[in-house]
Symmetry: C2
């Protein structure tokens, strides 16, 4: 299924499903519900966050337009995760049970395609996180972002605080490492814009 087909499909969903709206800062009550729901974002951004013992919020990941998220595939044994809107958000709730039992194979194929994209993304993230030091984590992350944008110059789509959480490192150590990489001429940094050399 190509991107265009996917968009056509989303148009079809738009006809058949109700839109739900959320304000910035609101929670998406997926972990609270018993239903096997999958959220598809029509517009806006949703972050997956974790609250740790001290009440600090840890950024895990985020989802944006045309991406799906669901508690179905999130590991939340400690019950400390939640989805929060970081912008105003419009989304659809799709019922997984209907997906899988329904007769419309299009829905299934679409969802499967999305799942595969997401698995690839998770593998990318693991590739980054399995690196043994921060420099390699950062450079791998930058390479992936750079490829995604098809350009050596790109914007970091999150705050540096969130990037530190994402990489599982300390924020101030991250800043120090960024300076170091700049001194070693491996990157150039202007605010959130990174230029990756070589």
């Amino acid at each position: 299924m190509k991107d265009k087909e996917a968009e056509m499909f989303i148009l079809e969903i738009e006809k058949n499903f109700e839109t739900f709206s959320f304000n910035k800062g609101e929670f998406i009550p997926l972990f609270q519900s018993n239903k096997k729901e999958i959220a598809l974002i029509k517009s806006g951004k949703v972050s997956l966050m974790k609250s740790d013992i001290n009440g600090n919020l840890l950024y895990i990941d985020h989802f944006k337009k045309n991406e799906m998220f669901s508690k179905l595939w999130i590991y939340n044994e400690e019950n400390d995760l939640f989805f929060v809107c970081t912008t105003p958000v419009e989304l659809y709730f799709l019922d997984y049970t209907l997906f899988i039992q329904g007769t419309n194979q299009k829905y299934l194929s679409f969802f499967l395609e999305k799942s595969i994209q997401y698995m690839t993304y998770l593998h990318q993230k693991i590739t980054i996180l399995q690196k043994k030091n921060m420099e390699e984590k950062l450079l791998t992350y930058f390479r992936i972002e750079s490829e995604k944008n098809g350009n050596k110059r790109f914007e970091i789509p999150v705050t540096y605080k969130e990037l530190a959480d994402y990489l599982g490192v300390d924020r101030s150590s991250l800043m120090r490492k960024l300076n170091e990489l700049e001194q070693k001429k491996k990157i150039k940094k202007q605010g959130k814009t990174i230029f990756l050399k070589n």
Copy 2:
């Protein structure tokens, strides 16, 4: 789809698909092929490995009976990954294109169910890897393994070398940390058997 249904389904696959056999140490040529193939393991174990610049082999993950693997959802931009059999292996090759275009919805549902299981697993792994220090990584890993076995006492299913790779840490540092955790009475360790306290 319950485990039993999944097993029934695998029996059906067994009827319709050819089995391929591999010796221990052999590569599964998925990255070499152009086909969109998904391997389903009938018996044996397959590891996903990475060869780094120095020619060292890094363990990424492994797959076992009734689990699927495919290059479709693996990030292999640097072309340094491969699947290798760590035991004698029998498996089926399923064609993703047929899956998605075919009329047999059972296949689709089965594959989707497997995909969701795998996404959950990847999220678990990310939960471990995003921890900021080795102690938390280890204890989270142990908790997950313990839950999976339904027992505070469980076997580590890989070598300590592989576990270090998996967690993205140095092997000798891992050994040191294990001793430390034992001294702090957080675990008890006998060879590959771990007893998780509290």
